[in-house]
Symmetry: C2
Subunit: 405 residues, 2 copies
């Protein structure tokens, strides 16, 4: 026990009464409710505190239905990527709509989803430390699979699985040539044989090949052309495994940018789409089969902001900046406003240059923005506000926000 | 009362048992401890879970001491900007080191700092809604000041102060020409007169002029030249107020980029520096009086990552990307590693191109990175790990993370 007051002023900086170990701290620090909060009465958009992240539930449900029905009709499974939304309630709805399971980028995300009872979780990044391997092994009983791309990683997972006496489902991650993660496709069979021969705690369940470098190629035909070339190494690998008599019940990859190409290309058993549920400016800009705007799915995710200052006549400043919208690729856009240009105004502000605005703007005006890149935008918020008919009805915790470990 | 189970699988998605109102939800959702957690035994850097944000406490304390002693010697106050760190324990240390108070970018940040007992808080952005004005008024008794830049904002604050029967300290925000927030300097006296004549609930306490557009000008002399030009409108405004017999006890502005120019320029009573405590790649790149690297303050803030995959011989991939480091301006850099180049690898990954690395890297290797832009990097983390002598000793909650409302 330990008693030290860290602040002699306010009551709210509390006295530390015990000193936990690091593992204890990690296990307890982010225990949060996963349950959606239903508000006792709807709150109109204009009365929400800003900046806030909100979901148009109707557009969201339409996106879920379209992706699921199209993939199901093609005999493809949907393994939704939770790195996009980090929200157990959304995962629950995706599973309810027919998804075969979900993907998580990191073990930390998988811990949140497993805690929430989400079934068949695939961790899509390899791990390289004993700690991460042990955490994966602890989840093996909850239906969590994980990719490997080296004997080093396989060895760590084998050791962890053996120490807990569990069997860990693993997929071999193939590098599609982008050089981020994955083993060279030609070396995959060797790694599979290593697992089968040396790792009794691991069950080899198939392959992953995620070509993130193809997802945002502008123009549907150009994207298809490059993607087809990229997947050839995956098709060759599956054929090589077949010849060797090693089954690959799961071959997973693909995403929102290639969702309507996968059935013809014929590599995957299930598709790792995430952004289709929300859509964002980045995806809309690449176009789809029907034209230069990717409109097969509707934008359902928005950041609501408020104009707070008009220092000069030709511009107006609102209360959202680097800390409320992702900055890694494209800029956000306004949902219902033309004749304006957006500029970043720093950490906390955005600036609207008024060229010939289609609506009157003044301090106090609320504006809805399409998200620039949805995944890192969602990762800035603790909560997602659910909007139906122009009013907030529920709030869903983004429980895996920040769970990048 | 309301009972609906949102998930028929796991126990962790809980049943909703009551439906709160929106205000109740807002007031309760982010109640977190502010107290630093002291670990029962130190944890070596190599055993920390990654990606993690950590502070070299010695460098941090040296930065605090240098800024404070230099400003104090010049007779200038330090009003540390908490938007950089969002951490009550850091604010407490800055006050303990001699700061006159702190700044907060938003009312939500000020609520966290006031709850933690931090005195003399200035909200540096104007508000434009009745809700935000009421929240500011509720903090008026805790020593929270706020800027105004329009009669609209003054009117909202007056109404809120009157309804709670409090007196709200306000400063007039001057636009330094960047067109983000603030009133044109020539119109400030008129706004002050409006406040003095019409707003008995407001106490006019001075001026703010934050020239964010000058902070990152490369080269100390170039920065000084442009900054001196920019501040002329502020000096003229103060003189105008003096002639009119209206006192401006506080004239606040400036930052890390201009900290050693302010005494000579003579506009401010206190300086709104934030990044000096951490330093980041963005600031190091602008240079200081002594040369092309801004080295008056030491980097104290780092993101620790782990190499997880080596798909190709000339590169290695680690576990930090858009969700663990800010992407708005410059790239992160490696703290103790030469002969490599950094590439973003997406949401969850970074890629090290190995040209002629000064240390051996393999999956499992830990790397420390200098933060690209510290403020939005900190805003991605719930906790700051405090490192002394190569080991973690404490963990400080970043309680105002995400409090941009």
């Amino acid at each position: 026990m330990y008693g030290r007051c860290f602040c002699d002023r306010g009551a709210a900086i509390q006295t530390v009464t015990s000193m936990p170990g690091y593992q204890t701290f990690l296990e307890t620090r982010r225990q949060r409710d996963n349950a959606p909060v239903v508000l006792d009465s709807p709150v109109p958009l204009g009365e929400l505190r800003t900046p806030t992240l909100y979901l148009n539930e109707q557009a969201f449900e339409a996106n879920l239905a379209r992706m699921q029905s199209d993939l199901s009709a093609s005999g493809l499974g949907l393994r939704c990527h939770t790195k996009t939304h980090k929200c157990p309630e959304i995962a629950r709805r995706q599973i309810a709509a027919g998804a075969v399971g979900v993907c998580c980028a990191k073990v930390g995300e998988a811990e949140v989803m497993a805690d929430a009872g989400i079934p068949d979780i695939l961790v899509t990044s390899p791990v390289a430390t004993a700690d991460a391997a042990m955490r994966a092994a602890r989840l093996a009983g909850s239906g969590v699979r994980i990719v490997i791309d080296s004997r080093h990683g396989a060895g760590l997972l084998q050791e962890a699985a053996a120490s807990l006496d569990v069997v860990q489902s693993v997929l071999i991650d193939l590098d599609p040539g982008m050089g981020r993660t994955g083993i060279a496709p030609g070396d995959a069979l060797g790694l599979a044989r290593y697992v089968l021969d040396n790792c009794p705690g691991l069950r080899f369940d198939g392959l992953q090949m995620y070509a993130g470098n193809c997802m945002h190629i502008e123009g549907w035909q150009a994207r298809l052309g490059q993607y087809r070339e990229t997947l050839k190494a995956g098709l060759a690998t599956v054929a090589e495994f077949e010849r060797a008599g090693i089954e690959t019940p799961i071959v997973t990859g693909g995403g929102t940018g290639t969702w309507d190409m996968e059935a013809d290309l014929g590599l995957f058993t299930d598709i790792q789409a995430g952004s289709y549920a929300f859509m964002d400016v980045e995806y809309r800009n690449i176009g789809d089969r029907s034209g230069p705007v990717f409109s097969a799915f509707e934008p359902s995710l928005f950041v609501l902001v408020t104009a707070i200052s008009q220092p000069q006549a030709d511009r107006i400043t609102f209360d959202g900046g680097y800390k409320s919208m992702a900055t890694d690729t494209v800029k956000p856009e306004f949902a219902d406003l033309e004749g304006v240009r957006f500029y970043w105004g720093g950490d906390e502000h955005g600036i609207v240059r008024l060229d010939n605005p289609s609506a009157e703007l003044a301090p106090g005006t609320r504006l809805s923005m399409l998200t620039p890149h949805c995944d890192p935008t969602v990762n800035l918020y603790d909560d997602l506000v659910i909007v139906r008919d122009g009013a907030a009805h529920e709030i869903w915790p983004i429980t895996a926000r920040g769970r990048s470990q």
